[in-house]
C-alpha cells in the first residue's frame, strides 16, 4: 500500500501533475525531456511514524516551493521560472518500506519515470543504500535530510550524489559547544537514545565532544530503549535516581514528544536540563508540556533557527498561507535541497529552457555556494558534495498568551567550528580536540 505515487491533489497544478503521473505510469516510454519539463522525484516518508514530524512537512515544502518556482514568485536569486526556464514537475514517493524497497523505487524513478533528479531520503539506511545505485545509474541525487556520517566514507568518489543537509556529528558537536557556553558548571550528564545507529552514533559523538569541551562533566547514565517504544517510565526513573544536570537525547518524532511529556509530568525536566538535538521539529506541539529552558536544536539553521532573510520570509509566508503553520526544520531542509538543485542546474551553462544532463548539473553543483532559506550554503566537504553550514541551539520558551512555542538564547556556531574537515572521520576529529576548528 505504500508504493503508490502520491501527487498533489489540492491545486490545479496538482491535478495536472497527477494526470501526468498517471499517464506516465501507463506509458513509461515517455521521457521527461520530451515534454520539456524538469522532473524531480521527491522521496520522503508519507506513512509510518516519521511521516507526521518529518515526511509531511517536507512534502508540503516541496509543493509550496515548486509552485512558487513555476510561477516565478520567489525572490532573487531564484526569481526565474522553474529550473532553467523549464517547468518543474514532481513525483512524490513514500520512503516507508525499508532500503531494499527504496532501491527498487529509485530505479523505477530514474529508469522508468525518467526523472531528471531525485531529491529525498530521511533514513540514513536509505541514503547508504541509494548512493551506490545513484552513482551506478548516473542519476542526479540530492539527499536532503539523512544524517549518517558514513555516507561519504562509503561513497568515496561521489559524482552524482550530493547532500545539502548536515552530518549528524555536527548536531552533537554543536550541542556540546552550546552546553559549554550556557551550562559550563554542569557536572553530571545522562543520555537517552533510540537503540539503533542514529541514537548510538549521536551519543558517541556527543559524549566524546563533551570530554573535550567540558572534561569535568561525567556521564552518569545512558539509556537506549527500542525505537518507537513510546513508554519510558522505567527509563525516566533510572535517569531520575542518578540526578543528572543534563539529559541529552537524539530522540525524534513521537518518541521524543512522549519522552518530553512523560519526563516533564514526573518532574525530571525541572531537575535536569534536557538537550534535544531534534527538538525543534515539535516546537508547535509541546505547548506548556515542555519546560521553558529546555535546549532544542533544529539540525542546522533551519525551522525556528532559520535567519530572517528575504528568501526565508517568502518561504515562511507561503508555507503559512498554505498549511496554517510555520515550517519546521524538515521543511526548510527540503526547500534548501530544491534550491541547491535549481542553482546547480541554472549554472550548468545550457541553453535557457533546456533541461541539463545529470553530469552537467553535478559539475555545477560540486563545490557550489548558493543562497537558501537558511542563509548561504557552501558545498565545502566531501570534495564539494557535502554541505557545510553552521548550527544553532536555543532554549524553548512557551508564550502562553499566544499559545505558541519559540526559542530564546539562541547561539549559532559557524560551519568551520562544528564540521570535521575532509580526510578525517568525525570521531577522529573530535577525539583529536577539533584541530583547525574556527569558531565565532
Amino acid at each position: 500500500m505504500h508504493n503508490y505515487k502520491k501527487t498533489m491533489i489540492k491545486h490545479p497544478l496538482a491535478l495536472a501533475i497527477a494526470a501526468t503521473g498517471l499517464a506516465l505510469s501507463l506509458t513509461t516510454s515517455v521521457q521527461a525531456a520530451e515534454n520539456g519539463k524538469f522532473r524531480i522525484g521527491i522521496v520522503t516518508f508519507l506513512s509510518g511514524p516519521a511521516a507526521g514530524p518529518f515526511g509531511e512537512p517536507s512534502a508540503n515544502a516541496a509543493k509550496v516551493l515548486v509552485e512558487g518556482l513555476n510561477q516565478g514568485k520567489l525572490p532573487a536569486p531564484y526569481n526565474t521560472i522553474g529550473i532553467n526556464g523549464a517547468e518543474i514537475e514532481v513525483v512524490i514517493i513514500d520512503e516507508a518500506g525499508g532500503a531494499a524497497k527504496q532501491v527498487e523505487e529509485f530505479r523505477n524513478l530514474v529508469q522508468r519515470q525518467k526523472v531528471d533528479a531525485v531529491v529525498g531520503y530521511i533514513s540514513s539506511g536509505d541514503c547508504l543504500a541509494i548512493a551506490p545505485v545513484a552513482e551506478e545509474l548516473g542519476a542526479m541525487t540530492v539527499f536532503y535530510d539523512c544524517g549518517t556520517s558514513q555516507l561519504f566514507n562509503e561513497d568515496k568518489s561521489p559524482q552524482f550524489v550530493f547532500r545539502t543537509s548536515l552530518d549528524a556529528a555536527v548536531d552533537n558537536i554543536g550541542a556540546a559547544r552550546y552546553l559549554a557556553k550556557v551550562r559550563p558548571d554542569a557536572q553530571k550528564v545522562a543520555g537517552i537514545q533510540q537503540n539503533y545507529a542514529w541514537g548510538q552514533d549521536s551519543w558517541n559523538d556527543f559524549t566524546h565532544s563533551m570530554e573535550q569541551l567540558m572534561p569535568k562533566a561525567k556521564v552518569v547514565e545512558s539509556q537506549m530503549p527500542k525505537v518507537f517504544q513510546g513508554q519510558y517510565g522505567a527509563e525516566i526513573s533510572a535517569l531520575s535516581v542518578k540526578r543528572p544536570d543534563i539529559i541529552h537525547s537524539s530522540f525524534w518524532g513521537g518518541d521524543m514528544e512522549a519522552l518530553v511529556l512523560q519526563a516533564n509530568a514526573r518532574g525530571l525536566l525541572e531537575d535536569a536540563t534536557a538537550v534535544l538535538t531534534c527538538g525543534e521539529s515539535a516546537i508547535d506541539r509541546y505547548k506548556d508540556q515542555a519546560p521553558n529552558g529546555m535546549i532544542i536544536g533544529g539540525r542546522g539553521p533551519f525551522g525556528a533557527f532559520a535567519p530572517d532573510n528575504e528568501l526565508n520570509r517568502w518561504f515562511k509566508g507561503s508555507y503559512q498561507a498554505a498549511y496554517k503553520t510555520d515550517p519546521t526544520y524538515p521543511a526548510s531542509k527540503m526547500a534548501q535541497a530544491i534550491l541547491g538543485l535549481k542553482h546547480a542546474a541554472e549554472n550548468a551553462k545550457v541553453e535557457a529552457g533546456k533541461v541539463p544532463a545529470p553530469l552537467e548539473i553535478a559539475k555545477a553543483f560540486k563545490g557550489a555556494t548558493f543562497e537558501s532559506v537558511s542563509g548561504q550554503v557552501q558545498m565545502a566537504r566531501a570534495g564539494g558534495h557535502q554541505a557545510m553550514q553552521g548550527i544553532a541551539y536555543g532554549e524553548y520558551q512557551y508564550d502562553a498568551a499566544n499559545k505558541k512555542g519559540g526559542v530564546h538564547n539562541v547561539i549559532a556556531f559557524n560551519g568551520e567550528c562544528v564540521t570535521p574537515p575532509d580526510g578525517t572521520t568525525a570521531l577522529e576529529w573530535i577525539k583529536a580536540g577539533f584541530p583547525g576548528a574556527q569558531c565565532n
Partner: protein, 298 residues
C-alpha cells in the same frame, strides 16, 4: 531506591502490558484466532481518544472529570462499532478455517486498518496530554511518579478481576468456558457458539481500543503505533499461555518487572530481556505458564 524503582516501574509497565494483551488473549482463548489486527484496535482507541479528548480540553468544553469519561466512553463505542463490523462483515465467514489462515486474514485486516486510519486521521501526531498532566504526580520514597500511571495500575487490576469474575462466577462465563474446553460438545449441548464468538470478539476489540485510549494521553499518537504494540502483546500472551487471563496477568508482571530490572541494572540488555523471558518460559513450558496442553483431534 533502585529496587523500589524497579518494583514501581515494573508494576506500572505490567499493568499497561496487561491492558494491551487482555483482548488478544480473550479472543484467542475462545475463538482460536491469533488476531494480528489487535494492534490496530489499540491504535483506533488511541486516535479516537486523542482526537476527541484533545478537542474537549483545547476548547474548554466542560469539567475535567467529564474528559476522562469521554476518553473511556469514546474508546468503548469505537471498539463496539469496529468489532461488530469486522466480526459480522468478515470473520463470521471464515470460522472453522485453519488457524494459520486466520493469522493471514487478520494480518491483511491490520494493513487495511492502518491505511484506513491514515485516511481518517492523516499522518500528523495527535497529542492529548491533558488527562495525563491534570492528575499531577506523587513522591513515593523520593521517586516522583505520575498519578495517571498509578491510576492505570488500579484500572488494570479492576479490569482483570472483572474478567476473571465474569468467566468464573457467571452463567455466561461458564458457557464460555465450555466453548473454550470443547467447542463441538458445547454446540451439541445447545450453546449458540456463533453468538458467543460475536460477543467475545466485540469484547476483545473493546479491550484493545480501551488500552489505546488509556495510553493516548501519555504518548504522541502516530501512524504505525498499532504495529509496534502487537509484538509486545504477543510476547506477554505467549509467556502467560495463550487464551488465559491469569496467564496474561502473570506474563505481564514477569515481563514488566524483568524489563524494569534490566533498565535499572543492565540497560544494554533491555532490548533482549522481554524475548529472553519468553524464550526461557517456552523452553520450560512450551504451552506458556498457564496454557493447557491440548490433545490433537484427528
Amino acid at each position: 531506591m533502585s529496587l523500589f524503582a524497579v518494583l514501581i516501574d515494573g508494576t506500572i509497565y505490567a499493568s499497561w502490558l496487561f491492558l494491551v494483551a487482555a483482548g488478544l488473549t480473550v479472543i484467542y482463548g475462545v475463538m482460536r484466532i491469533l488476531n494480528m489486527a489487535h494492534g490496530s484496535f489499540y491504535a483506533i482507541g488511541a486516535y479516537t481518544a486523542a482526537s476527541l479528548v484533545g478537542w474537549y480540553f483545547n476548547n474548554g468544553i466542560g469539567p475535567v472529570w467529564a474528559g476522562y469519561l469521554l476518553m473511556l466512553g469514546c474508546a468503548l463505542v469505537a471498539g463496539l462499532i469496529v468489532g461488530l463490523i469486522i466480526e459480522r462483515g468478515l470473520l463470521r465467514f471464515m470460522y472453522g478455517r485453519d488457524e494459520v489462515l486466520m493469522v493471514i486474514i487478520t494480518y491483511a485486516l491490520l494493513l487495511v486498518l492502518e491505511d484506513s486510519m491514515k485516511m481518517v486521521w492523516g499522518v500528523n501526531p495527535y497529542f492529548a496530554y491533558q488527562p495525563y498532566a491534570e492528575m499531577g504526580r506523587s513522591a513515593l520514597a523520593g521517586l516522583k511518579v505520575s498519578n495517571y500511571d498509578l491510576m492505570l495500575v488500579g484500572v488494570s487490576v479492576v479490569l482483570g478481576l472483572c474478567l476473571w469474575l465474569w468467566l468464573e462466577r457467571t452463567h455466561q462465563g461458564k458457557v464460555l468456558r465450555a466453548v473454550i474446553h470443547d467447542r463441538e460438545v458445547a454446540m451439541a449441548m445447545g450453546v449458540n457458539v456463533r453468538r458467543m464468538f460475536t460477543l467475545v470478539f466485540v469484547l476483545g476489540t473493546m479491550l484493545g481500543t480501551l488500552a489505546g485510549a488509556l495510553t493516548a494521553p501519555a504518548i504522541s499518537v502516530v501512524p504505525g503505533m498499532g504495529v509496534e504494540i502487537i509484538v509486545l502483546a504477543f510476547a506477554v500472551v505467549v509467556v502467560g499461555g495463550m487464551g488465559s487471563i491469569e496467564g496474561a496477568a502473570v506474563g505481564a508482571l514477569l515481563v514488566g518487572l524483568s524489563r524494569a530490572a534490566a533498565v535499572h541494572y543492565a540497560p544494554e540488555f533491555e532490548l533482549f530481556v522481554i524475548y529472553g523471558v519468553m524464550a526461557l518460559v517456552l523452553a520450560v513450558r512450551p504451552q506458556g505458564l498457564f496454557g493447557r496442553v491440548l490433545a490433537r483431534k484427528i
